[in-house]
């Protein structure tokens, strides 16, 4: 065979093969064509792309698919984008969506070393889940924060930091999207999602200790001792007492702050309220400027961002 024939034969074989395979591919593509709703891509474009899972779906694409296939968008909420985003999504899909109250994470423990004495040492792995499985903690409170910062590690939005002084996590309200990752990471269910509330004002019981009054108080100065005073004084029936622990329903709470002053152990925390007037009967909320002076009780979660360093990175 001369050289030219070889070249021609090769060309012919390869082109023939190419054509045959192209035909096979064409028919396979026709046969197994996946028709995907183009709106899924549209909705996914609108979503933040954080893939945090805060909506309950596996990533933003999963959420987009679910939004497109549903009839009623009311049960869908992207905590990162909030109501504005959900409206845009609803517009894009030509559907309606009801507005939801935005939420934010709060840390329900004030057990800093000042309030809660350390009586044991822990030298095991720096993981809350492992420490939780081994013992009640380095203090006498077997419910409170272990201070190893697993919530900080899981936060995609850099919205929670350990305060090295209190050894408790603090939520950066502006950055928190209420995705719930820290809640899943916390083995003790200390973190809760609560409504942001009017002007970001919130009142909550910052304790989860279910021990009886005496041991709870002995373990931690600022523990809820289950005395029930707040339940009695609340004019709106917003507070319930269960297992020696008070809980304030944020749907019912009208932010009157009576319980805060009533609590004998300062376990109830008020956030972002103006300072109280001395001896004022009714708190003047209207014109008081927002200051940080009332931060006395605000340990667990405030807006200050000074506590960047994380004690647990080593």
């Amino acid at each position: 065979m001369d050289d030219l024939t070889i070249v021609l034969l090769t060309l012919a074989t390869l082109s023939g093969l190419g054509i045959i395979l192209a035909l096979i591919l064409y028919f396979v593509a026709q046969k197994f064509n996946v028709v995907e709703d183009p709106r899924i891509d549209e909705v996914e474009e609108l979503l933040p792309g954080a893939n945090c899972g805060g909506c309950g779906y596996p990533g933003c694409r999963g959420f987009a698919e679910a939004c497109v296939t549903t009839d009623n968008l009311d049960a869908f909420y992207c905590p990162v984008g909030g109501n504005d985003l959900m409206k845009t999504v609803a517009n894009a899909l030509g559907a309606e969506v009801s507005e939801k109250d935005p939420q934010v994470a709060v840390v329900k423990c004030q057990g800093s070393p000042e309030h809660r004495k350390e009586i044991r040492e822990y030298d095991g792995p720096q993981s809350c889940a492992i420490a939780h499985s081994l013992f009640g903690g380095t203090t006498n409170c077997a419910n409170g924060c272990l201070g190893l910062g697993e919530c900080v590690e899981v936060c995609t939005f850099d919205a929670i930091h350990m305060n090295p002084e209190t050894n408790l996590p603090e939520v950066v309200e502006d950055a928190c999207t209420a995705c719930g990752a820290c809640i899943d990471a916390c083995p003790r269910d200390i973190i809760e999602l609560r409504n942001v509330g009017k002007k970001s004002r919130r009142i909550y019981v910052s304790c989860i200790n279910t021990d009886k009054g005496a041991p709870a108080k002995k373990a931690c100065d600022v523990a809820c001792i289950g005395c029930g005073k707040c339940v009695k004084i609340c004019p709106f029936d917003a507070i319930t007492l269960e297992n020696n622990l008070a809980y304030i329903d944020y749907e019912k709470c009208k932010l009157c702050r009576k319980c805060v002053t009533e609590c004998p152990t300062n376990a109830i925390v008020e956030l972002n309220f103006p300072p109280r007037k001395p001896k004022a009967e009714k708190p003047a909320e209207k014109k008081a400027p927002k200051t940080e002076d009332n931060a006395k009780k605000v340990i667990a979660a405030d807006k200050t961002e000074e506590s960047k360093p994380n004690t647990n990175q080593e």
Binding site: R120, D123, G124, P125, S127, A129, I130, S133, L134, F135, G136, A142, D211
Partner: protein, 443 residues
């Protein structure tokens, strides 16, 4: 050549300081705290209330299900209250607190030390007595014995294996029991054999207890079908699966039980508890506990009523040494540091170990150097470093596929790791999560 299990294992310094100390009875405490959850399975349900007068051996809590065990008062006196008390788990658990007053026993308990050799009871009677007596495995796992002896239909067993290995360093409780209650062990074993209709039993003893091997071999001739096997010293030979492999050369399949290879394993202490429950009507109200440690003045083995505070045991051993770093409930390999020395002795407390500050500290954690020692020493053939990494990244499905549930939590991997990586901590965490997932899948 001595038998042992072929795969993995470590040999830590034995430190059996209390091996020559005879078992002493600890004087009655002023108060006992008896936790309602001191066995594997559902916690028992209290049947007494505040102010009730109880005798030694009175039932105070009924088994809370099939896999559960009765709990009896270990003292006579008055129930002070039922409250949450810190126990060796590190958490407060519901417990019955009894103020001790005298030492009056239930009438039906035979307190005569004479050995009763009569084996005329039917298997059903034996099992019923074991169940009534609240007998659980005394090796440390506290699995209810009556459940272990109920062989499910379709399974046949041909061997009872009595675990007298005591492979954990420091502990000597089983060793002393063998020297002091040899006949009771043999009769207890015979009763277990009768209850399960098996005519062969093997008692496996590690070779570091030559006196016990000699004594038991001598008296075993008086009893039918009981054989003593001396084993090479190797941790964790006291694990059921390792012991079966060592004495019978049978391998329990992954995810399986000793039942799958025709065996039931019982601890030597359990054999005595079975003897006492069946022949003497005595429920499980006391056990032998080793109190030891390098700085302990007087390492001892104590016969202790369940519910006695560990403080009293430590006092009996000469008090808490000044350089104490950790107090561990159980053996040094599998035991767990207690949060407080005022925790009660439970059915599973085989030892109270006192580590000095130097011993008790964990070493600094370095990066894994891929030496694979953890894989070499794993008696279950698992890759500890791999399991740890998977558990750390929360990939539970993969962890299950890597057979994390076969881990027996012996701690050989953490013990041997030259980089000080806390392998077992992560594996245990992964194991508990995976077992939850498996359970939720079944429901």
């Amino acid at each position: 050549m001595l038998k042992t299990f072929p795969k993995g294992g470590v040999h830590p310094a034995e430190n059996k300081m209390a091996a020559t100390a005879e078992i002493q009875s600890l004087p009655l405490p002023k108060q006992v705290v008896i936790p309602l959850a001191q066995h594997i399975g559902a916690p028992a349900q209290a049947v007494v209330k505040r102010g009730d007068v109880v005798k030694t051996g009175t039932l105070i809590a009924k088994a809370g299900g099939f896999v559960s065990a009765n709990i009896h008062s270990s003292v006579s006196g008055k129930v002070k209250k039922i409250d949450n008390v810190l126990d060796s788990s590190g958490y407060k658990k519901p417990s019955v607190i009894i103020d001790v007053d005298g030492d009056e026993w239930e009438e039906n308990i035979d307190r005569d030390p004479a050995v009763i050799k009569d084996l005329s009871k039917t298997p059903e009677e034996i099992k019923q007595k074991i169940m009534d007596g609240g007998i659980v495995g005394l090796g440390g796992a506290t699995f209810p014995t009556h459940v272990k002896l109920s062989v499910p239909e379709g399974k046949t067993i041909d061997h009872i294996v009595i675990n007298a290995v005591e492979c954990e360093p420091y502990l000597t409780a089983d060793h002393r029991v063998m020297l002091e209650k040899a006949h009771e062990i043999m009769i207890g074993t015979s009763l277990i054999m009768k209850a399960t209709a098996v005519n062969k039993a093997i008692i496996g003893i590690e070779n570091n207890k030559p006196d016990a091997i000699e004594l038991l071999s001598k008296i075993a001739k008086e009893y039918q079908g009981i054989e003593i096997v001396a084993l090479k010293v190797q941790y964790p030979q006291g694990g059921e699966k390792q012991l079966i492999k060592a004495v019978l050369d049978r391998e329990v399949p992954s995810g399986g039980l000793p039942l799958d290879v025709g065996c039931v394993v019982q601890n030597v202490g359990t054999a005595i508890a079975v003897y006492e429950a069946v022949q003497k009507n005595k429920p499980l109200i006391e056990r032998v506990v080793t109190v030891t440690g390098k700085s302990v003045k007087k390492p001892i083995n104590l016969m202790v009523r369940i519910g006695t505070s560990a403080n009293e045991l430590i006092e009996a051993a000469g008090g808490l040494p000044e350089d104490t770093g950790k107090v561990v409930n159980g053996g040094p390999m599998m035991g767990k540091a207690v949060s407080d020395t005022d925790v009660p002795v439970t059915k599973g407390t085989s030892g109270i170990l006192i580590f000095n500050q130097k011993e008790s500290k964990r070493t600094k954690v370095y990066n894994c150097i891929r030496c694979a020692r953890c894989t070499f020493v794993c008696p279950q053939g698992l890759e500890a470093f791999n399991l740890k990494n998977i558990a750390e990244s929360n990939d539970w499905e993969k962890l299950e596929n890597e057979h994390v549930m076969d881990c027996i939590e012996c701690g050989s991997c953490s013990y041997t790791c030259p980089a000080g990586v806390p392998l077992l901590d992560y594996i245990r965490l992964g194991k508990s999560t995976v077992s939850q997932i498996i359970r939720s899948r079944k429901n």
